[in-house]
Symmetry: C2
Subunit: 591 residues, 2 copies
Amino acid sequence: MRSHYCGQVDESLVDQEIELCGWVNRRRDHGGVIFVDLRDREGLVQVVFDPDKPEIFALAERVRNEYVLKVKGKVRLRDEAVINANLKSGKIELLGLELEVLNAAETPPFQLDDQGVHEDNRLKYRYIDLRRDEMQQRMRMRSQVSGFIRRYMEDNGFLDIETPMLTKATPEGARDYLVPSRTHQGEFFALPQSPQIFKQLLMMSGMDRYYQIVRCFRDEDLRADRQPEFTQIDIETSFMNEDQVMEITETMIRDLFAYVLEVALPNPFPRMTYAEAMDRFGSDKPDLRIDMELVDIGDLMEDVEFKVFSGPAKDPKGRLIVLRVPQGAKLSRKEIDGYTEFVGRYGAKGLAWIKVNDVDAGREGLQSPIVKFLPDEALDEIIKRSGTQTGDLLFFGAGNANVVNESMGALRVQLGHDLDLVSREWKPLWVVDFPMFEWNERDERWNALHHPFTAPSGSLEELEANPGESLSRAYDMVLNGCELGGGSVRIHDTAMQHKVFEILGISDEEANEKFGFLLEALKYGCPPHAGLAFGLDRMVMLMTGASSIRDVMAFPKTQTAACLLTDAPSEVSAAQLKELNIRIRKPVTEA
Amino acid sequence: MRSHYCGQVDESLVDQEIELCGWVNRRRDHGGVIFVDLRDREGLVQVVFDPDKPEIFALAERVRNEYVLKVKGKVRLRDEAVINANLKSGKIELLGLELEVLNAAETPPFQLDDQGVHEDNRLKYRYIDLRRDEMQQRMRMRSQVSGFIRRYMEDNGFLDIETPMLTKATPEGARDYLVPSRTHQGEFFALPQSPQIFKQLLMMSGMDRYYQIVRCFRDEDLRADRQPEFTQIDIETSFMNEDQVMEITETMIRDLFAYVLEVALPNPFPRMTYAEAMDRFGSDKPDLRIDMELVDIGDLMEDVEFKVFSGPAKDPKGRLIVLRVPQGAKLSRKEIDGYTEFVGRYGAKGLAWIKVNDVDAGREGLQSPIVKFLPDEALDEIIKRSGTQTGDLLFFGAGNANVVNESMGALRVQLGHDLDLVSREWKPLWVVDFPMFEWNERDERWNALHHPFTAPSGSLEELEANPGESLSRAYDMVLNGCELGGGSVRIHDTAMQHKVFEILGISDEEANEKFGFLLEALKYGCPPHAGLAFGLDRMVMLMTGASSIRDVMAFPKTQTAACLLTDAPSEVSAAQLKELNIRIRKPVTEA
């Protein structure tokens, strides 16, 4: 219906007659003529309707915002004075010669340029929200990202193989979405939390290199950046070790950023062990844009009177660290109280601090309720180790190591954002050498840090002898403090797989019921294999600078897992339930 | 771990040392040496182990079929006498220098070259079935097909946009798979039968050109070529009419066949109206490879005594046709009885026939129980119209037009296959000008022939005046008697959409409950739009020559919608059901 997109019209087309289709972004009357900004996916162009074509002029007078128009017109240069340098089409305008209203529009529930629309309203009228330039750009970048990744994968010999959505409960640990079976009554499918087992089976099928961009599902209580359905870039290879998988996927991400964002990521990405990441940043996904670190000072405090410090310093499960906040001495008492409350959410009992008003003035230059408890040598050494300068603030984390890591790691990031200490860079890294297991205090058993198919670095004997010290062959790619993706070398040996299940306290019966087919498959010639999965939503969120994954999904759900646009979920008929042989347990009272 | 794939090794590598990984396809001892055919995704290579390396030789003696090996060896030419022209690596072999058994394998439940394995066994041990060359080729072609289509779409400015899987019941008419919501108890999501409404909403969102290769779900009783989950190539565009959509998608398919199969499809595809397709082939997806047609002879029979013919000839809802079967006179009485039974399945009451033993001998040359009822002129005209020659057989279809079309259309295809009358060609076509509605005798109301969002060819007034005669702006792409895809121009006008719902007997209340958001969206500037969806599974099935879509899916389900590999669906815990606020209606007795 058109010869060009609105956003493609520029001065190269001057004096040509062209046809455009699009939406009325704005209409205004000025000096006896009508100006219509016509909008399509590619941009805006200004169309002018003169009164000397009375019929068209009359029609143009009736159009309103979001009317859908077809316009035929002649491109002409704008006067110098009204050139709009922000628009590709800003040097020209279209003199309207023919006009057809393809569809009228009622006044939209909100204006497209209104930045303050409540998210519920944006979700309910998503088809209007998505017309906004910002959302158009995000959807387009998402499409570019997945297109680029597919091409990269295919160019590297990866086969796109689809795995089932109606499947068996997966072992990822989160809650499954269930689908009642009609033909096998009383039984249920589960929607996949990931295609983990299927991709391993594809390696056993000799597919060698597999990838898929695939929907996954978790029925969790939603946090800010979670959705019940999300998209994973799923990758698995045979006969590759961790270095090879990391190289091929790292190159993909580097090429992707160069292609889509014209950003040069470091080559290679730095690698950091899990232990170092926890030590220095209190996190296994450190944000390296923030130049602050957790500095251990336990050795200085074992013998001080101040129990808050000496206790953790002496406790093998304790940790005592200092976090230097550059120019943090300017923080008010109220702000410090706020951070104390912040770390409290992670279980920290308090937040000791020292303001360094003059680093050369010794004890006199330090302002703090706790300085009096600390010996001079310790204070000097703290200042030295942390590289403290005049005007800085020192925060202290003391207590159980896990709590210190979590709370002070989170505080570090929070301070980074609050004090504008986050550099404008892309900081990727690999985190490696994860523990195989973590001890679950409550249930008094080992949990898998990744998933139970992750291979250990050592032998079966070493694993058995000391599960708590065993490292895994897992690797996470972290970017700016977010986990972009993670993976591992998998177990390809039956005995090892049984041993891991045993350590995890999964009985033979349970293992057979849940993963019997996988254990069976391991017997018939399973190749060494390894893989990785990226979260596409979060990747695109980072790349677009959006603040929520909802903003990079066309039709996301709310935090209660509802779709405000279609009103899903909704009630279904009694007949449908009967066919499925299920019933609602308790009548739900109207809210 | 390797330097090459097995299937890539050829005489260009002679004298080089290479490393391979793969599976033992076959091991045999011959003349004191051990031959191992090593297999990977790319093919086979023969590895020779000499006894003069006793350690490796001993290890090689222990390997069995499907062991996973890593071999280092030297490429050397084979003796002329043992060159295998069927293998890319058939001129060379690898002298094994180092051997590592990466994994052992128990004897597989079936041999890879056994063609007679029961499908249940193939599905249960899918990871072994998929190692077979045939299945490897199919999976690879499927990946090529979707990769090609994505590139074509992206090169043409289509954005890949993901739509939800957890959504509201769709109006496609089949049964939905339901997913109970935990956070909104008593309510359910439905898995999409297609993203139809979402893709229309994306057009209203200004996305202009959308595509997605997307999983869809139908909880139907499965026929031979249906699966509960299947994959659709989903396409939608704004500001395009049917000709433009047909052109862009036809070019895609033509390019695809050229690229993947090196087949030149006709340019352009022929177009045929629905009416012509039914008249000539009794089907809206005619298989044009078969050179037989349904020829109307009602006008010849209105006045004959033979009621079986004159009845339908005079009935406005009746039809009387002849189907000439080239060289069909050789069919036995038993075979003809078989075809009589065949058409009976479609509701035909009988199957009259004439064997034409000598086309020049008049009545004497015709062998048939019905010839005596038919006048000479009619017989002459039948022979003339149908182009009958000596040795042919004529079958007659008489009765209700729908029954005649369905039964004789099916018989035509069946005869084509039975008598080897199907040409070795690719015969695509477009079927157009479908009726908007078909009359549902049982419920005494109109059904939509496509779906209720399909635009009619005429005006609202014409539609209202005569729904039964109204044609739609729908189009189906047919290939070799299979519907590859179908689509339509959609309704973009609120009044028209309401009218179609009204004709379909969908009340305002029902329309609002099910599609209220769509009707609402139509108000705010909906562009003219049109689209199409292809069935990827069937497309790949046709392209690979597989006889079932199960053979082009990695992990298909059985005809009772079960996965024999993972044993899904399966029972879930009472706690899970309680969390979802549902219970099993009646206890299921053990089978």
